[in-house]
């Protein structure tokens, strides 16, 4: 018997237009407790827009978005958000510790300084991502992968109800990518994780569910996606990917 899962985020018939061009068309999506979802699709297909709609940073022109039973603008602070981060100023005067503590700003409110409790949570978050030794280092002095882990810690420190990651492995070498997915595997038992990536192979190995997005959502469910779905998503014949991948990922053809 299937137990009804708690729905954290729901998108119903969501359309987003920019200058009369439809970036998202009729999106129906439900993110539930226990999900580890990968959203894949070509660049320009609306992946980042979808994420921004969930976070209330972009308003849909049609349809309804619900986050934790309420409006995205109200409840987005319960989402741990890790953006596709590109550090513009490598010399920005901020340490790893200060970046992570920044995640507590919403809980603290204005003017209040971080308490011992907040600092304890920051230490714990740094421990989870294995960056505790780097806490005094200036953020620009870290590699791409290390910076990414700091931003994940920053998202975790607010004790979020789910994680939302945008292209988290950009600029991270393959060795570090494996470690990164291992970290996510440890976290997925605590909260649903939604991951956006154009890297089909890496995503498909590690996540439990896949959605394919190219203005429309072509598939949302388990990982068994056939070539027709991928072709519809990517609008070009896709070569079957097989690199030590478990058979259940892609249907044999």
């Amino acid at each position: 018997m299937k137990v009804a899962s708690e729905e954290l985020v729901s998108l119903r018939d969501v359309w987003v237009h920019y200058d009369n061009v439809a970036i998202l068309e009729g999106i129906n999506l439900s993110i539930e407790q226990g999900d580890f979802l990968g959203i894949i699709g070509p660049n320009g297909g609306g992946k980042t827009t979808l994420l921004k709609v969930i976070l209330g940073l972009v308003q849909p022109s049609r349809g309804e978005v619900t986050v934790l039973g309420g409006a995205p603008e109200q409840n987005r602070k319960f989402i741990g958000y890790v953006a596709q981060h590109i550090l513009f100023d490598h010399d920005f005067p901020i340490s790893v510790w200060d970046v992570v503590l920044m995640g507590r700003n919403g809980k603290l409110g204005l003017i209040k300084r971080p308490s011992d409790d907040d600092k304890r949570l920051a230490l714990k978050a740094l421990e989870i991502v294995e960056m505790l030794d780097y806490k005094s280092r200036q953020i620009g002095r870290l590699s791409g992968g290390e910076q990414q882990r700091v931003f994940i810690a920053r998202a975790l420190v607010a004790e979020p109800k789910m994680l939302l990651l945008d292209e988290p492995t950009t600029g991270v070498d393959t060795h570090m990518q494996a470690e990164f997915y291992e970290l996510l595997a440890r976290l997925k038992h605590k909260m649903p994780i939604v991951l956006i990536s154009h890297d089909i192979s890496a995503v498909s190995i590690h996540v439990d569910k896949i959605a394919c997005l190219n203005h429309q959502l072509y598939y949302h469910g388990s990982k068994e996606i056939g070539p027709e779905i991928l072709e519809a998503t990517y609008k070009c014949p896709v070569q079957m990917i097989a690199h030590g991948v478990p058979h259940r990922v892609l249907k044999e053809h």
Partner: protein, 277 residues
């Protein structure tokens, strides 16, 4: 030079210099790290409209400047956030409208405008006692706001999008920061003039950035560099009879070049060139 300290105008000049350095040292740090140099230049030049208005209405031009500076700060901030107009276009428009209105108002004022040159190019030696009170008051506001909202300003300087998501009022804080820039512009007008205000808002902070990765220390150093520039620039202009505002600014540039050169030498010694890729 020391014998000059017996004069009122000299003591006023030094006080004005220190007050200006505190304001520009603190706010300049945000201008540099958040990369709002251009919009700060826009606020500075737009404030000239207020100076003209002050002449026209017969009130202290500094108060007119305060009004125009805050109005243009809010105007530029809101236009770039709420409309599709690119930020630099908005800045360009406010910048020139302010300047042009200032010139118009001065032209409409009967008689001639005493001290107009001072507002444009600064003359730290002619700062009246009344203006020092205004400068002190503005400094207190700046210090109180920055101390209270330190973590918020750090957050919005580093990552506005994340700050919005976690729930801090990012837009309002950004507008408040621009208002602090406006207040600093007014503090600096008498010292270096509208045209060169942007120099003290950026150069001491840029020099301080070479020495530290801590925002608080950067503010402290920035204030120190501001004070050194003002004092040395003032000395030099007194001894050699040079325009004080310009001398102060050039001195700050020399300090910056020394800091930048020193940092590059240190990097080379430690084998660092570009940041890790």
């Amino acid at each position: 030079m020391l014998e000059a300290l017996q004069y009122d105008f000299m003591r006023n000049a030094l006080t004005a210099g220190v007050l200006a350095s505190v304001a520009c040292g603190i706010v300049g740090v945000y201008v540099v790290v958040k990369r709002i140099v251009f919009i700060s230049g826009g606020i500075a030049h737009a404030s000239f409209g207020g100076i003209g208005l002050g002449y026209f209405l017969g009130i202290n031009p500094v108060l007119g400047a305060l009004f125009f500076a805050v109005a243009s700060a809010l105007g530029m901030g809101l236009v770039s956030r709420r409309t599709r107009l690119p930020e630099d276009t908005a800045i360009g428009v406010f910048w020139v409208v302010g300047m042009a209105l200032g010139i118009l108002f001065v032209g409409l004022t009967p008689g001639y405008a005493p001290g107009l040159f001072t507002y444009l190019f600064g003359n730290i030696l002619t700062v009246p006692g009344a203006d020092l009170i205004i400068m002190l008051f503005l400094n207190v506001i700046i210090i109180v706001v920055v101390l209270s909202l330190y973590k918020e300003f750090l957050a919005i300087s580093f990552d506005e999008e994340f700050s919005t998501v976690v729930g801090i009022p990012t837009e309002r804080l950004y507008l408040l920061l621009l208002c602090l820039v406006a207040l600093t512009v007014v503090v600096l007008i008498r010292v270096v003039g509208v045209i060169l205000v942007i120099a003290l808002l950026t150069i001491p902070a840029a020099a301080a950035k070479q020495f530290t990765y801590n925002l608080g220390k950067m503010m402290f150093l920035s204030v120190l560099f501001g004070i050194i520039s003002v004092l040395c620039g003032l000395c030099l202009s007194y001894e050699l009879d040079l325009a004080s505002g310009a001398t102060i600014v050039l001195f700050s540039v020399v300090l910056f070049l020394i800091s930048f050169g020193f940092k590059r030498l240190c990097n080379r010694k430690h084998g660092l060139s570009l940041p890790p890729q």
